[in-house]
Each structure stands twice: as structure tokens, then as C-alpha cells.
Symmetry: C2
Subunit: 598 residues, 2 copies
């Protein structure tokens, strides 16, 4: 049986566009001779639709769109993710579209409600296993989290019912290395259950989240048959020998979990069960697959058996993260109907990297960099700012902030007792820059990108309404040590020595808001800071645990107090791309009012 | 049996302070002759602790604190809310503290995961009913959402097991009118189950949420026996005639829900079962209850039977909301260790009301109002700003923004092609004001209060990093029409004609950011706008449904597009006090990237 996995990029709430996307790929899959085409989880609504799901009319609109899509499924069976209401209950559903109608519905059984997920806020869990007979060949379908169940209850029932393949519809949020984790799990699930595993993942950026694609098919021995690219749309077409595949006679590894949970039951849907009705297109591919899927051709690009499922041909960490950040920027900008972005360019490494990502993602013509030097800006950084813009070929403007700064100081003089300067005046400079960028944004309709990294966001080494002012925070989940690695990676791509001058990379980091200021005046070395942030933020470790890693106790306590004390700033920060296993944002929900230290 | 409900105000994460609070009230309850004292849900950690619950060491610290508290429970039984881990599972628990130890644990069975709640993110639901024999008298205990279960499964089991009273530990988030809704439910539950209902609610502000107190006791006929005040700490002491109370022989109204869910079981804890051991303090009240509970005395302040449970003696809507806002400001400021606040005072009604609330909540000495007139500020508003500050007795400063504004325009002149002004220059003025307030905040350690109302927040009629800049948004959940009512209410309290001049109330609202500007140039009348906002935001109605209410379709579509299009601004707004059934914030989680319109 030939199956197509449609790795598409839906837009949350744009039901008409999502429907066109699905219908177009159904046509392509038919042209490629596929009998089944699978789409990502909730492709009709986009993922995650969040509180749109609380609007009854939204659910009605999704169902209407689904029925429209169904009409194009006369020669193929499509599995389409959709929010689906039955009475007062709403399900995260996979619709079986065939014979021009909605032939069956599967309800997601396991609803993630941790990390970035809130699915129990919206959905009722399902309790049915669905067997779909396509051309008399039994398949089963499930959704994302379902297949992560180590006990594989549902798959075991399906296998016992005769299913030789599971098709999983996913929108799996990316973090660095997630693809490999996922493939290891999927290979294991295939071998455990003796089924083909067809994993149809979506791709794209949605606010903080990236969906990385990399849809895959594993055979019943757990060997990789085919894999789609990361971060791109693709139609992955694969042939499965379902009749010939026997696999292990029984499901392994789940004996001790007993029988399926009480209440689970099997439902069977048969579509196209008279082969003659659709025989003309069956096994009659119409040539190469068109469009973004061209690279895969119409033959399965199977990897030989026995090869470890991934890693070798995957991207380097830097390439992968850079790809994720680029996709995140592109989708946030375009899906919110912006074309052009503007950012403050100091000549430091954070704004340099952000500019590179923006230029690569959006095209150099769509990026403006603004240098806003003050009395504390060095000639070195000012020159570097200009140089980076020139190498990237992006628009460059310079607005000195000295006059506005002086005007502020004069206006405030009567309120401030003494002439001594402190962090107030530093923040003022950062806020002037924020205001100038927002003025350009207002005047020209540009989106402001902020340039702060995760290490700064963690300890609050940033100015609220200053350098934190903007619509999208490209590298807010990238620790400073990784910023350096990404800068070097980008330079390695060229042209020549790359867009970021060595001086930008090697200069000691400084906010340049006071005389002879360096980040390390108030922060630990970034190597140490990032170790603490990772342990405290991403792994929820205690001060004691971090000290036990070999970090100086005073440093740990100081950094932890800074992290805790700056929750209020992060709450007002723009969203940015999540690339770690725990980003600031909806992934980490701490109270602002919080006296706990430890 | 004499019971004390300790309506206290814990602080999230301040375990030591919360423990002292609990121990002090245990002592007071003993002195008042109570045999049982009940505390709010999760009083040890504060509520909601959010992702603190993901830190294993936090759970260990909570358990340690609980055991410390238990040592003070030798002469009384205390019911104390605490996060409680058993193996990998975490429960929202009620600990029974008696005989100096943790004598029993109840696990909350129903975990809310809607609106502002995320309890399924953290907790495992319980499946046990707990019977606690105190002095051989059986009681049952449950937690918040449990008692909202209309089928009353758990209570029915407890009643059949002999329990004559349920003690419910709550932290019930306030919205206007919530107290009456809650009392109607509790009175019904008492009558339905034939049990005394003792409802121990917490009080205080925590970021967006207000807990309004108003703890109550109902008798088995559903009659109010006693009620604590709203928005204040209190120890409510009530005598229940448990031996004499029979109530209805069977539980009413739950027959059709069948037997309790499979797996629910009964657990029994007996404490102080030898009366002689504690006989000395039993029924021997030590005189009037001390401290904030003085108003209740040591006798139950029972209301005669047959009287409707609430409403009559409750506060007016305006008084209630004003009380909630004041508590919200006071707790946010003090729990975050600020003393003094600063706000921009335009002479308009929003900043006037905010200043009143701040002065009433924090004391006039702790409030600074700053007038920041521009070329567009009228003499009327400038005078009113000064007048309001004078009437409230708060500090007043004036900083003109003209010079800074001119400096910005000059700096930007080279980037802006023409001299024509648009919203850019309006936002610049608002952002200058935001920067000036933040400079005062930085210099003097003051918290900036913002003054925007819910109607503005909804349609984005506010400047990001301008008037939206600040730490706490006092009236962000108050629709403009209610702002007017609250202003008149506050004036009615005096002294004299009150702090807000009639001219401030009667002047057509204007942002004063351009010549002859009025809000109604771009917004519908606030009466209409607020109807749309309430329907669209609070009730999730569609455009069609709102049109059906009799609102002009073009207005509805225009306003809905503004609401949807300004999600990005709201995401960067400071938190504020929730007073409606759906506030902007964690109550309403819409994607920024969202193309759905309807």
C-alpha cells in the first residue's frame, strides 16, 4: 500500500487557507498513486488553537470545513486532524475522509497537559481504538501523545484486531534534539508492536512553538523506511508491504500492563472496500510528486535495514537550531501579515546573530538595522554594526540618542535630588532606543525584533520597554554560550568569512550603557551562568543540587535570586522561539508574587 | 462542637510566614474554645503556587513546614491545605493535624483545569472520602471544587458513613458577585446532603487573582449560621449541634447519579478519641477572640433560619469591586516588598480612580501622582490632575514632556520622509510618559501603576511601553462604564464631594495625544463597546450572536477585529486585578498568531 504523509504548515485560525492546503495535498497524493494521505494533528484549525476552542462557532466552522474537504476524497482516504465536538464534549480528533464523506472519527486518548500543553483544558479523552479498512487492508490511526504510551494499549488492541500499520497524526513541538528522541521512540514502538509506524508531523512556527516536521515511516522491525526534511513542507510518499508484513506475532513489552483499560473498545470503519471502484488509480502513480515533495520522488527512499534510525544524516545542533530560529521568525512575521522587520544593531554578538537569522529567513531586503549610539558606544562596536549590515546587504540607519537622553535628564533634574547616575540612566538609554524602534515600527509598519538571549532573560539583564521592546524575541531561548556557537556556525556558511566580524565575536560582551561596562562586572562567566540557568530553569533543580554540580554556592544563590526576582520582566516580554526543553513563556509558569527561594 | 474557620491571607512561596500565620491562628482558635480549626486550600504554599510545584525540593519544604505546624496541634484538630507528594504523585491535600502529628491526609478529588485554573498540570486526583472522628464525632473534609460537584458523590458516602458536617478548604478566585453564587451553592449542598457545611475560604491578592474570604457556615437545612467579612482576615468561630442535627435522612437530588464511582473508598481517622485527654479546653472558651476576628466574638453570630442566605447584607457591586481592587493593589505592592507607588495622572477618570484606590489601599503618603502635560493637554485636565492629588493628599509632581518630544522628532526627522504626523507621534508622547515614570521607579524604588481600563485593553486603545508601562494594572479588568460607577461610588464616600471632581467625570474622555481628540472619534460609545466586549470576551459569543443582541453589525465587526488584532499588546501588559468572570491574562489564552475572525 502506498501512503503519503503530508507534512504541511497550517495557520492557526485560517480555516479557509488550511482547507486549501489539505485539498491541494490530497490532489498531489492522488497523483502520486497513494491510497491514503495523512495530515498533522488539528490541521484544520492549526495547532494549538488555544481558547479558540472555547468558541462554539469556531468548532462549527471547523466541522464545516472538514466536510468541504471530505468532498475531495473520492479516490483516496485522507486522515485529517480536526477539533470535533459531540454534544458538550470536544475531542482532538482524526477524521477518516473517504467516499466523499466523513467516514469515521478517532478521538485522541492521551491528552498532554504539561510543559507547553493545555489539552485537558479543552478536550475530553477518547476511549476507542479505530480500525480503518482501506481497500480491505486494516490500518489504525492515533494522534501524537497516544503513540508515546509505553504500554501501547491501543496499538496492541489494534494489532490484535489485524492492523498492520499505525498512522499517527502529530504536531510535536520542537526542542533541540527532539527529532532523534522521537525517532528512537517510534522505532521502538514499531518493533514492540510489529506494525509499520507512519508518523505524519506538521511543520511551522506558531508564536513560541516550532513544529519541525521530519515525518517518518518505520517498518515492523523498527527500521527507518523514509524521512521527510526538518523545517520544510513535504509530501512523503512510501510503499508498505502490508500483506507480506507479519512482524512479531505478539506485541512485546506490554505484558505486565495487563489488558486494555476498561471501557476501551474497538471501532471499525471500512472504506473503498470494493477494489474495483477505485482500481484505476490504485498502484498507478502518475509520475514524480510535484512541488515541495519533489525531493522524495514517488518511490520510498528507504534506508537499508539495520542502520540506526537517525543521527548520522541529521543536522548538527547549530544547523538545526539555526533552522528552527529561521522558521520561527519567518512564520511569525508572515503569519501576522508583516513583511519587514527592524532591529537595533549595537555591534554586539546578539544583535548580529539576530540580524543574520532575520536576513536569512526574510530576505535581506526586508530587514532594517538601526544603530543608536550613545556617549558610551565605542568606535569598535559602531563600526562593527555598520560592517555586519553591509555584509548582510540589509538597510542600515544610524540615530544618535544623545540629544534625547540630555532632554530626559534635564526634564527629570527637578525630581532627582543629586546628579549621581545609577541604573536609572542606563535604563533610560535603552528605553530611548526602544522608543525609536517603535516609532519606526509605527511609521512604516515594520515588526520590531528584539535581540536578547536566554541568559539575559533569565537574570533580567535587560531593560523592560528598552531592549525588551518589540514584537518577537528571536533568540530569547538561546543561551549566550550557544549564541557564540551559532554565530560561528553562520560565519562558516559564508560568503567569505561570513557576516559576523571576528571582533564582534571576540570582544568582551558589554551593554555599553555606562563607562567601561562589561557584562561580567555583574554576571558570572557565561559558561557558569548557563550551567546554572539550565539546571535551575530547565531541570527545576535546587540550589543544593546545583552546588553539588560543582558550582560556587555564592554564585548559585546570587543567580537564582536574580532569576526569581525578574519574573515580572519576563511576563512582559515578547514571545520568542522555543528551542530548549523549557523556555520562558507558557512552558514555565511561575507566579510573579513569589517569596520562595531555593 | 465549636469550629473555627481561619480566613487567612497566605503569601505564595513564603512558607515560614505562612506557617507562623497558621500556628498563630491555631493558638487563637484554642483560646476561643474551638475543637477544630480549618485553614484554606494550600495555605502552606499559598495559592496558586503554579510551577513551584514542579520543584521537588519545594514539595519537601512544604511537608517539613506541615510537620512543624502539626507539633502545635496537641489541643485541637487543624485541617490545613498543603501540596503533598506520595512517590511520583502530587496531591492537592488537606492534612488532618492532631495529637501533635499528621494524623490523616485527604486528596482533592476534582481538579479544576479551566478558566484561571491549571490543577491537572500538577496534581493527581484523589479517590478517597475521609471521615475524621474528632472527640468521637464524625466529620468529613474536602477541598474547593469538590463541593461544587452537583452529584455530591463524596458527601453522600460521608453522610452514609455518619458525617454530620463537611469542612471545605477553599481558595476561591473572586469575580463580582461570586460570593452570592457560592453561598447559593453551599446552602443547596447543605440541604441536599443534610450536613453542616463549613466553608473556610482564604483571602488576599495573588498576581491577577483575588480571594475574597467570606467564609460561611450553613446548617443542615441550608440556613446561614455565620459569615466572615469579604476582603479581610478573620477567625470565624461557630458552634454546631452535631449530636442533635439529624437533617434529611437520605441525601437528596443525587439518586440518578448512581453509586459513587468505582474505586472511591472511605478512609477513617480518629483523633482525640479519649475525651478526658483534652477535656480541659473542651467547651471552655477563653473569652473573646483576639485580633481581626474580634467582630465575630466567641459566639456564633447566627442568622435566623429561613432568611435567604445572602444578598441583603452584602456589599453593593461598586463597594465590592472597589474592595477587591484595593485588596489587589495592597497585596501586590506589599507581597512584592514595595511600599510606594507612582502613577501618571492626566486629569482623566481612569487615572483619577486608580489614584483613589492606591491612596485608600496604601495610604496617601505612599502614592505619587505625576502630571506629564504635552502641547495637547487642556487647562481643564491639568487643573483636575492637581486638584485630585490635593484632595487625596498624595504627592504631586509635574514634568512637561515637550522638550523630550521635540528631541525625538528632531532625531527621527532624517528617517521620516514627510512632516505629517500620525499615530507614531501620539505613541511617542505616551512612551515618553512611560519612560519618565519608569525613571522615577528606578531612581526611588517605586512601583509604577498603570491606569488603563478593560474597554481600552480589549480594543488596544493604549500604547505599548507607553501608558501600558508599569508593574501593576489596577483597573485593567474594569470596563469603562463600571469605571464611571466606581468613581461616583468613591466620591459618595467623601470627604465632602469626594476626591474626583465632577469635571473629570463629565468631560468627554480623550487621550489628549492630538488636537481635539476624543475617544469616541475611533471607538463606539462605551455603553455599546462594553456590551460587545462582555459578549465577545467574557461569553465567547460570535459576531452573529452579538448582532442578534441588537448591536449594529458594522460596529460589532469593527470592535471584534480590534480585539483580535491587539492580542500582542495584551500579552505584554502587566498583570492586574481580575474582577469579572473572564479577565485578560491567564483566564483567556488566545494565540497571537491567529487568523480566525468571527
Amino acid at each position: 500500500m502506498r501512503i503519503a504523509l503530508a507534512q504541511v504548515n497550517p495557520t492557526v485560525g485560517d480555516l479557509a487557507r488550511n482547507a486549501r492546503l489539505v485539498i491541494d495535498r490530497i490532489q498531489e497524493a492522488i497523483a502520486a498513486g497513494a491510497r491514503v494521505v495523512a495530515f498533522p494533528e488539528l490541521v484544520v484549525s492549526g495547532y494549538p488553537p488555544e481558547d479558540l476552542l472555547l468558541k462554539k462557532h469556531f468548532l462549527v466552522d471547523c466541522a464545516d470545513v472538514l466536510r468541504d474537504v471530505a468532498r475531495s476524497c473520492t479516490e483516496i482516504t485522507a486522515l485529517v486532524g480536526v477539533p470535533w465536538s459531540e454534544g458538550d464534549r470536544v475531542y482532538n480528533a482524526a477524521a477518516v475522509l473517504a467516499e466523499g464523506r466523513v467516514a469515521g472519527i478517532y478521538h485522541k486518548g492521551r491528552l498532554p497537559n504539561y510543559a507547553v500543553f493545555d489539552e485537558k483544558r479543552y478536550f475530553t479523552p477518547g476511549g476507542r481504538v479505530l480500525l480503518v479498512y482501506v481497500d480491505d487492508m486494516p490500518l489504525t490511526v492515533d494522534i501524537c501523545e497516544d503513540i508515546w504510551d509505553e504500554a501501547a494499549e491501543g496499538l496492541r488492541m489494534a494489532r490484535e484486531g489485524g492492523a498492520r500499520a499505525v498512522i499517527n497524526l502529530s504536531m510535536s513541538p520542537y526542542h533541540a534534539g527532539k527529532g532523534s528522541e522521537r525517532e528512537a521512540m517510534l522505532a521502538g514502538r514499531a518493533a514492540q508492536t510489529g506494525m509499520y509506524v507512519c508518523y505524519a508531523n506538521g511543520v511551522g512556527g506558531q508564536d513560541e512553538l516550532i513544529f519541525d516536521g521530519q515525518s517518518v515511516v518505520f517498518d515492523p522491525q523498527g527500521r527507518l523506511l523514509s524521512r521527510a526534511h526538518q523545517f520544510e513542507e513535504e509530501l512523503l510518499v512510501v510503499d508498505m508491504d502490508l500483506a507480506g508484513s507479519e512482524g512479531p506475532p505478539a506485541v512485546k513489552g506490554s505484558q505486565d500492563s495487563g489488558s486494555p483499560e476498561p471501557g476501551w473498545r474497538m471501532e471499525v470503519v471500512r472504506v473503498n472496500s470494493s477494489p474495483s471502484a477505485t482500481g484505476t488509480s490504485r498502484n498507478a502513480p502518475s509520475g514524480r510528486v510535484q512541488g515541495p515533495a519533489a525531493a522524495t520522488g514517488d518511490k520510498p527512499s528507504g534506508v537499508d535495514s539495520g542502520e540506526p534510525s537517525c543521527i548520522a544524516e541529521c543536522l548538527s545542533l547549530e544547523a538545526e537550531v539555526y533552522g528552527a530560529l529561521s522558521l520561527g521568525v519567518r512564520d511569525y512575521v508572515h503569519k501576522n501579515l508583516f513583511r519587514h522587520v527592524v532591529l537595533g544593531m549595537s555591534g554586539g554578538i546578539d544583535s548580529a546573530l539576530t540580524a543574520c537569522i532575520a536576513a536569512d529567513a526574510l530576505g535581506a531586503d526586508n530587514v532594517t538595522a538601526v544603530s543608536m549610539p550613545s556617549r558610551f558606544s565605542s568606535a569598535g562596536t559602531k563600526n562593527d554594526a555598520r560592517e555586519i549590515a553591509a555584509r548582510l546587504g540589509i538597510d542600515f540607519q544610524e540615530i544618535a540618542i544623545e540629544d534625547v537622553f540630555s532632554a530626559y535628564l534635564q526634564s527629570l533634574a527637578s525630581c532627582f535630588d543629586s546628579g549621581s547616575q545609577d541604573v536609572t540612566e542606563q535604563n533610560l538609554q535603552a528605553r530611548i532606543r526602544g522608543n525609536l524602534l517603535m516609532a519606526l515600527s509605527n511609521k512604516f509598519g515594520w515588526l520590531v525584533l528584539t535581540t536578547g538571549n536566554k541568559s539575559e532573560m533569565a537574570v533580567g539583564y535587560a531593560t523592560l520597554y528598552g531592549d525588551m521592546a518589540g514584537g518577537f524575541a528571536v533568540i530569547k531561548d538561546v543561551p549566550k554560550t550557544l549564541v557564540y556557537r551559532l554565530a560561528r556556525y553562520r560565519d562558516s556558511l559564508g560568503p567569505g568569512e561570513g557576516p559576523i566580524p571576528v571582533s564582534t565575536i571576540e570582544r568582551p560582551p558589554s551593554a555599553e550603557l555606562a563607562e567601561d561596562q562589561e557584562d561580567q562586572d555583574v554576571l558570572p562567566e557565561y559558561e557558569i551562568l548557563d550551567r546554572i540557568v539550565e539546571a535551575y530553569v530547565e531541570r527545576d533543580e535546587s540550589v543544593e543540587q546545583i552546588v553539588a554540580l560543582g558550582v560556587d554556592r555564592a554564585e548559585v544563590e546570587r543567580v537564582v535570586a536574580m532569576i526569581d526576582g525578574n519574573e515580572y520582566k519576563r511576563r512582559q516580554a515578547p514571545p520568542g522561539v522555543r528551542i530548549t526543553s523549557k523556555a520562558f513563556g507558557k512552558d514555565r509558569r511561575l507566579p510573579i508574587t513569589n517569596r520562595y527561594r531555593g
